[in-house]
Amino acid sequence: MFKRLKKFATGFALTAGVCFASALAYAQTELTMYYPVAVGGPLTKIVDGIVDDFMKENPDIKVSAIYAGNYNDARIKALAALKSGQPAQLSVMFSIDIYELIEQDAIIAFDDIVSTTEDKAWLDSFYPTLMENGRTAGKTWGIPFQRSTIVMYYNKDAFREAGLDPNKPPATWDELVEAGKKLTASDGSKWGMMIPSTGYPYWMFGALSMQNDQVLMSGSGDKTFFDAAGTVDALQFWKDLGSKHKVMPEGTIEWGTLRQNFLEGKTAIMWHSTGNLTTVKNKARFDFGVAMLPANKRRGTPTGGGNFYIFKQTSEPERVAAMKLIKFMTSPERSAEWSIKTGYMGVSPAAYQTSQLKDYVVDFPYAAVARDQLNYATAELSTFQTGRIRKALDDAIQAALTGAKSPETALKEAQSTADRLLRSYR
């Protein structure tokens, strides 16, 4: 009964669609694009502005860019639209959604669209580290757009007050703890540092474990290393910051209100996405600095943020138009504009060669920290069954931070969950 109803509905939609499309076929290609916003600031306006510019240059393409909430919401909306038979043609989604999207057979690889050597060269024009999350099984599925790394924001005024050199942010874990102790007020009114542990705990943890020289997963997306010695030590260190060294509040720290905490001077150091940079720059009423994350065995951070994907259910002209739009939005000039207005990094070396971004970096050197940190960066946690596995790790991290379980027990449990979920993919 339902199938027949569905058939009828699709038939109806198709007929209506064909009539509508044929009327417009000679005039315009229409694109629907979903995009998420995961940090504060007027990002929707900036995206709309760039899209408007694109339509002015390409009057034969009409783009409706739809703000779709956070990364999770954006993926849900795009896939729901796909299932309802009214798909979007392209979308910005979490870079780590790649395996899920492949498994759902929702997206098409860029290698299957590009034909000219020029386009193939374009695929190689981005920072290779940013491409790690977009490539698997020998193909490119995602093109970097709003990409970030975790950077360390610090309050230079607080550093001065504590007798620390404001131009020498802590570069190792030991220095971090040492500085944190000086920056923490004994009455609990000021903390040395905060690392958020809600929202995206696994992301922050990716940085800590990499600094301990241990990545969280294999490149093929079917193996995790949650119970490796380096991973366990990293989580122990995170917990120690609160419970042993007392430079960070105990329990979990809210992702959403952390920036406010930093801006109000309640914490001297925060680890957060570089996507917050421009907002912090505009709102901080004190002298602040931005630095790479400190090292233990090495420096490290995962990349983060959103990639462009093209959906499989698209016609040839739609794919061509979508490619045009993606090329436009990731072009060096637009990437530079996007980076200046938000703090997200330019996605290609060429973006930093534009006079716009070059001048900006000279004036505001912190705009280049995220890019420089790419030399030490790795892909963000992304596997098959990614939602469940990420959740298992998130739960383990929070259990350890709140003292419910020891880091070792918590991570062992997360690893066995991951093993169970991934067994059939190996």
Binding site: D105, S197, I253, G387, K391, D394, Q398
Partner: protein, 294 residues
């Protein structure tokens, strides 16, 4: 328009029923049955299509520690919110039922939380609960206490969510009680005064029993709400830390839309439906004898 033949009147009757019946079937009965059927199939993806696995999802559910945790959280949440919000609602209704100066303002103040959208409420309370900069911590620090990470501590997070929910719900239930109170006959109070009954005696022996039909209605609503409220979790805690504030409906959402496992989500939904049906029936049978309908 009135037709005299009985046959036509049947048709007419059915026609009148049709719109409601279509809505009921499309949005209630069909989804319920589809959910039940889906719960017997495995998760589908482009690579491995869905197949019949019988009670497989239910077996997995019984072995799922998060399911049990979420279920118990939800029971605590219900126990924490329902009696408190109903009690506060009665007290508030009694207060604003008397003629007081500024009565209108008071009624409005009590009712305000109800008209705010849940997401807005959660956002406000997120900043109340935020350590260091939040309202609660600032007051505590002003009084010389140290602050507490209310939402970051698994021991306090569910309590924090309960307090916010009570704040939000009580005003809504108050409206029903207020309406009921205003329909109580004035003679009873006058008679009680003549007899010299104390206020307290009068409340327990007269007012409260007369409010029982309202209480049943409010209770059923409160029980449904305690399993239905989920929006605030998106803003406040995302079910964390370590599932300490995760509730059944939020877990269903996570399974359906974060893990793309609609079949396991269906399984959990069937449990939720069964639970709500049992609770509603229990309430009807337990209370029905004790309710005095006029």
């Amino acid at each position: 328009m009135r037709s005299s033949s009985p046959g036509m009147r049947h048709v007419y009757g059915w026609l009148l029923l049709t719109p409601a019946a279509i809505l009921l079937i499309a949005f209630t009965h069909y989804p319920t049955i589809a959910t039940l059927i889906d719960s017997f199939f495995s998760k589908s993806s482009a690579i491995r299509p869905s197949r019949f696995i019988g009670a497989g999802n239910y077996e997995a559910m019984l072995e799922d520690p998060i399911f049990w945790k979420v279920l118990f959280n939800n029971l605590w949440f219900a126990l924490g919110t329902i009696p408190t919000s109903v009690a506060i609602a009665i007290v508030m209704a009694l207060l604003v039922n008397r003629s007081l100066p500024g009565q209108g303002f008071l009624r409005m103040a009590y009712f305000t939380p109800t008209i705010l959208p849940m997401i807005a409420v959660a956002n406000i309370w997120l900043f109340f609960y935020t350590p260091e900069i939040g309202l609660i911590d600032q007051i505590l620090q002003g009084l010389g206490f140290s602050g507490h990470n209310w939402l970051g501590d698994p021991d306090t997070v569910l309590g924090a969510v309960i307090v916010m929910t009570v704040w939000k719900e009580a005003g809504f239930f108050m409206i029903f009680y207020l309406a009921a109170l205003q329909h109580l006959p004035k003679e009873l109070e006058e008679a009680a005064k003549l007899e010299g009954a104390s206020r307290w005696y009068f409340f327990w022996r007269v007012t409260f029993p007369l409010l029982m039909p309202t209480t049943l209605f409010v209770l059923i609503n409160a029980v449904l709400n305690s399993f239905k409220l989920v929006d605030h979790l998106f803003v406040l805690t995302k079910g964390g830390p370590d599932n300490a504030s995760n509730l059944l409906l939020y877990y269903i959402y996570e399974n359906a839309f974060s893990y793309f496992d609609p079949n396991y989500a269906s399984t959990l939904t069937v449990v939720l439906l069964a639970l709500l049906a049992i609770l509603a029936l229990l309430q009807f049978f337990l209370f029905d004898r004790r309710i005095h309908y006029r």
